[in-house]
Symmetry: C2
Subunit: 551 residues, 2 copies
């Protein structure tokens, strides 16, 4: 039994449908097909006495004449290139990778070769790695696999891993774990369809600043120490051979750049995925992970910031909170009349916890039913059987023991709610501060993109009700799914995005919120539900009971 | 006793002095000091909360601002670069190599570092390797060592080595021999002065087409097969790590390009050394090695060719011929009255053979004394004790057995002279054909540069007398010494020569003489001494006796 009341089945199905659609990695319609790695068929003049051009020069001259200029190549492959060119009587198909300022000659294939031109896009997340196998010629995502980040065994959170990485051996171990996971996952993805590692000519990686550093074996320790400066913002192009990636050894490896320690390549990829950097209209992109990361802007300007708003929103800090995964309650409705509670569980089994969207629903519905006051206190004046005393003060029983997986009451305490409200207040504050920075009113926003799993599960009307996000028309909000993965795939398919990335990076203004005092004042108002200033949320009706003093 | 007659001691001393001067690798006065590898001292802003630029980006931004743009680097060194930058509180000295279209970040040194910036220039010859250790900061050749080419053990001549290289294992063996010789020689050059391999940041190599290919492990077999197309004309920049050269692993390795199978990087370096590509006046550069290679031109145009004129001129084919080395007779004078012969031996010991300049002197002096006819026959009407009968027909005793090292008469036969005259005729023919190609008269030549050891030893007045080189004022002729080595050193000291090289390579027209029929007609006239057309050599007096018919 997934819904305790049938009233909400239709609603949850609608939300599920929407979620599936965005999970499927929608490539934007404006994306052109100019793949990062391309092939050119060449018919070279045969060497003759009247033309003493060397074999390799003959090849590079023809490529340059075709606009592939300048050409770089691995000098240790020249022998092989020359032998192949002669073997195929100077008719040859060149595999060329675009590295922004030059082209890389990656491979020479027989002119008639039908072997695929593949790429791997990697969303290098702190908790999971999402791999996309992409056919660059046919503009198709062939396969998608997500695996847990193997570094979790060393530390669940980024900070633990950074501290662990202080020893060189440990740093190498962290890197090795990722490279091994890459090699194993990619090999299995390829072999299922009979592809070869050498068919993969490009790898794009979008990760947060720390994860990118750990993948490359770079020092990540300065990221979490004031003044929070990473070793590298813009990574050079790597080749697979540099990292022992088991794809084509000369495959291009592109790591999305970061704009600072707390604004990584995953966000840059997210900007690409949203297309906000192309739009005349001003949009905002929010990614809630360990931090909440926010980008605001349009094709002319971009401003970004990140702040510690995330964990509770994702279900990470609250006692019975959990990530959006099977067993998590992700939807809750409370009938304001009967105070009857209905819920939905991901995977349709018994609940074992509550994820971010479930928490938002819970607080919003408790508030709507008057069980929660505008200060976020449980209204004990309502004589309601679900309200219990816990060691953490008053609590609210979301699911009774008999219905849960662990046969314990699933209770949320006032302290849990307090923690959650701090996160939602932090989120709203970040949005307010960044809008104020550029003198913008929320009403001016045409699109509000929410990235990640969180973006897919969240119900904007509930998030508005608790004052977590601005009170904008619901059509403004758009869950984006895995924007990091999407951006990484997009780059494989359109090399011109390399220029977009350059432009975005040089255009973006990063505001370090950690040192912004304006934050505290905004924050205090946002701790209330929805806010101390109700004019900010005209659509939210404040129930009489929520205004009642809690004795 | 080095001179049998004291008459010529003054003359030989004068020639020796001139030779020493040119051997000392004179750098042209127009050469500017813009070394291939340069250092830049940087004082970077310290990281702070208002500037989230990454450490590496901070460094590259500063370099770009200084005009070092674009910057390439070895991605595997980023960790080390970042650590060094922080270690020295963002004051750092960058070592930068110029690779024509970009700069290579090779190393970071402490700001106060006094460690030297060294380069190695290598003249990669078929018979010997000449190494020059160059101080790039102080524009100084610190040391110069010449060693035999270790491939001689496999084959004295290029062709044997090419044939040997057909097996991959053999090709690797040939390459390995050169790399080992490089590593051992350079290590000993460095350690004598307490330098470290890592102090060497650049290596320039000027070799003929085959030697360059063998050094890089490239297929050389197509060089000697019609249509004589090498694998590569313009080599990409290598790094020392690619070739396991034991200098700084990221040192730039530049291999001079070739213009064809028979016109190698040694000649391109020679053009640089002569400066003819800068001059308004038209010059000619001749390099006599296994082949005779000729370049004609000025700053606006260049034409080149190569032909088989060399071996006999270098002393290689004639029975008692030998390279210019200790024991070789390099100077000969014959008194036309007494017919008394005087000679000089390199190294001042007993003679064991006769080198190219000795042969030129011998034939010129025999002709002048009437011992040789204009047809190159020994004039037996002159009843002279030195004329003997050999199994190869009449011969001329240059040195009697009692004075030679092997206690055998040092005899030159009419057949030897015939072989030699074919070579000198080939040389004059090549010069004539190339001048005709561009409608030029020899009188228009302002400079006639003769490269190599041969250029240092040759006496132009003698070479003119036998009709080997045009009858120009003696001041036109200039021995250039090791032009390949000189050009390679020059490039270490002035990176702008990279552009000169590009220009020379694209400007130069290479004429394949092997397929030119005009050659045979010119050749027949040039077989005579000095020529069938005496008007071509107005300064040469033809002695009465040399006109005499030989019975």
């Amino acid at each position: 039994m997934s819904w305790s009341s049938k009233t909400f089945i239709g609603e949850v199905r609608k939300l599920d449908q929407k979620r599936k659609e965005t999970n499927a990695l929608l490539l934007p319609s404006w994306l052109e097909h100019r793949p990062l790695v391309t092939t050119v068929e060449l018919e070279l003049n045969l060497p003759n006495l009247n033309d003493n051009t060397g074999d390799l020069d003959r090849l590079t001259k023809a490529l340059k004449a075709g606009g592939y200029d300048p050409i770089h190549l691995n000098p240790l492959q020249i022998s092989r290139y020359v032998a192949k060119t002669r073997q195929h009587q100077f008719e040859i198909k060149a595999v060329l990778g675009n590295a922004l300022c030059h082209w890389d000659l990656i491979e020479l294939l027989p002119p008639s070769s039908r072997s695929p031109i593949l790429g791997i896009a990697l969303d290098l997340g702190t908790s999971s790695l999402a791999f996309y196998l992409v056919d660059l010629n046919n503009r198709k995502i062939l396969k998608e696999i997500s695996t847990p980040n193997p570094q979790i065994g060393i530390g669940e959170d980024i900070l633990t891993r950074i501290l662990f990485s202080r020893e060189d051996d440990n740093k190498r171990q962290l890197q090795h774990l990722l490279l091994e996971a890459f090699n194993q996952t990619v090999l299995s993805m390829l072999s299922e369809d009979g592809f070869l590692p050498a068919d993969v000519y490009a790898v794009t990686v979008a990760g947060n600043t720390t994860m990118s550093h750990l993948l490359l074996g770079l020092d990540a320790t300065t990221i979490c120490k004031e003044p929070y400066i990473p070793a590298v913002n813009r990574f050079p192009f790597y080749h697979a051979r540099d990292l022992d990636l088991r794809v084509h050894p000369d495959a291009l490896v592109y790591i999305f750049p970061n704009v600072g320690s707390y604004f990584g390549g995953d966000l840059i990829a997210g900007i690409l995925a949203s297309g906000m950097h192309h739009s005349e209209e001003t949009s905002i992109l929010v990614d809630v992970g360990t931090n909440a990361e926010v980008v605001l802007g349009n094709r002319d300007w971009l401003i970004a910031c990140a702040g510690a708003a995330g964990p509770a929103l994702e279900g990470g800090v609250v006692e019975r909170g959990m990530m959006a995964a099977p067993g998590a309650i992700d939807r809750i409705r409370i009938d304001p009349g009967s105070l009857e509670l209905s819920y939905h569980v991901i995977g349709e089994g018994k609940p074992r916890g509550i994820c971010g969207s479930g928490l938002i629903d819970l607080v919003a519905e408790m508030f709507n039913a008057g069980i929660l006051t505008i200060q976020g206190k449980i209204n004990r004046r309502i004589d309601f059987s679900r309200i219990v005393a816990t060691t953490d003060g008053p609590g609210y029983v979301v699911v009774q023991a008999k219905e849960t997986l662990d046969e314990r009451d699933l209770v949320i305490s006032e302290i849990d709610i307090g923690i959650f409200l701090k996160s939602k207040a932090a989120m709203y504050t970040i949005l307010t501060v960044i809008a104020n920075k550029v003198g913008l009113h929320f009403e001016d926003l045409k699109h509000f993109y929410v990235a990640g799993t969180f973006g897919n599960y969240i119900d904007p009307s509930m998030a508005i009700r608790i004052g977590m996000i601005p009170d904008l028309p619901l059509s403004t909000y758009q869950g984006m799914g895995n924007t990091a993965g999407c951006g990484a795939v997009m780059l494989l398919l359109d090399r011109h995005l390399l220029e977009d990335i350059e432009r975005v990076c040089s255009q973006i203004t990063y505001v370090e919120l950690n040192v912004n005092m304006e934050l505290m004042n905004e924050f205090r108002g946002a701790l209330f539900i929805p806010h101390t200033d109700p004019k900010l949320f005209p659509s939210v009706q404040i129930p009489e009971r929520a205004l009642g003093k809690v004795s």
